[in-house]
Point group: C3
Amino acid sequence: MSINLKTYNNSWYNPGKNAIIRLAWYITNSIFFNSYIIPISSFKVFLLRSFGAKIGIGVNIKPKVNIKYPWKLTIGDYSWIGEEVWIDNLDLVTIGNNCCLSQGCMLLCGNHNHKKSTFDLITKPITLEDGAWIGAKSVVCPGITIKSNSLLTVCSVATSNLEANSIYRGNPAVKIKDRIIEP
Amino acid sequence: MSINLKTYNNSWYNPGKNAIIRLAWYITNSIFFNSYIIPISSFKVFLLRSFGAKIGIGVNIKPKVNIKYPWKLTIGDYSWIGEEVWIDNLDLVTIGNNCCLSQGCMLLCGNHNHKKSTFDLITKPITLEDGAWIGAKSVVCPGITIKSNSLLTVCSVATSNLEANSIYRGNPAVKIKDRIIEP
Amino acid sequence: MSINLKTYNNSWYNPGKNAIIRLAWYITNSIFFNSYIIPISSFKVFLLRSFGAKIGIGVNIKPKVNIKYPWKLTIGDYSWIGEEVWIDNLDLVTIGNNCCLSQGCMLLCGNHNHKKSTFDLITKPITLEDGAWIGAKSVVCPGITIKSNSLLTVCSVATSNLEANSIYRGNPAVKIKDRIIEP
């Protein structure tokens, strides 16, 4: 068998809001998020909440951030979203408290069934527990949980869950050592 | 010996069109491709064809795509060009039918001779056969052929040809298993 | 212990210029550097020098470049800054003569102490000696020196110093062979 994208059908997928709201967010994202205009984090938090995101206090959102669907996004208190971070949340993304998404990293919720000629869409949620740190230019794959205080180093790819209090590196990311946190 | 970029000379390179057309494409690419404006794929296909690209039917082009030279680009039927894909086609890029270029991936046709103080430009074509899937944030290097239905996983780097019906991962990408496609 | 970003304090950090100048650069960077507007390298060199960068002759700066602080940047003669290069120079970045920063690469000067609940900011300088070549989409980590004529290949991550006249690959990058340069 070969891939046949003419038969691709994602009509079952529920984006969560109607086309008008999705278009309004598309424009909002392009003007105020994936740009340098108005680098005021509180204003962006206000916009995200207006579109249905649940955002805690003290959250810091840098310029050039790309978010797919705010209504599928939860961020806890005092978490940071770095420059050029891409939250491609076709599915739910839940970010805990005190998390850091470093510059250029990506949370990737979408995949396709590589075994089907119809290339069926697969979406899975991503969870970052409290204190998780996603390094610069790294990628978290669909369905992954980054347990509390774990660290994915620069340019690494999380293809399985990251255990708590651990440091992971590589593609696929493997544990290289414990992360012990002192006051 | 040391590198001496003052002696760099790429005057032999043929970009394929004159400076006026290249400038017109540079502006078109910046306004309509590597942007969020007018997210209508058929309009982009029209523009690409106007600049000499050969594009099949049912092709889907997402926002924020960066294409160097459309007159060096061929895309078959029902192929997808994802968000933030970068086709840096200093040389010919030939994409077959039913291919998927996932978000953030790069097709890189340019290199330099690292053994020469003059850092000579090297360009080589890239070919994606039918059903090839280039994963998110992965890179295909100059001269590479991705054979039919092969898959380069997220953040991997294809530095040699990918055999057909196979899944490759890593930097450099190595085969990790077969890709068997069912209806 | 857990991470507590409410206690984060980077007030000791010296960005090198006052808030007005930093804002002026932020706007300049967004309009003239990380964009496609005015793709004339000499104009960008003029702007960088106006903001305190030390730039040699024959330097070539491509579109879509992102530079944090020009007053913390030194570039020698005949070096190239490729498209979508990100110089995130919270600390000093010193680029020698005849260096090539290929498209999409990143020089990353900022880090955090992963052992401290306060997530203390750490910045370290990066040095590229003459003839260094940073490959497409690769990353140089804080504190690293790329010695003369060394090459970091596509999508690799330099987490320790690169010896002279050597080729490094992977994450973390390891030496794979010598780089011997002929006329």
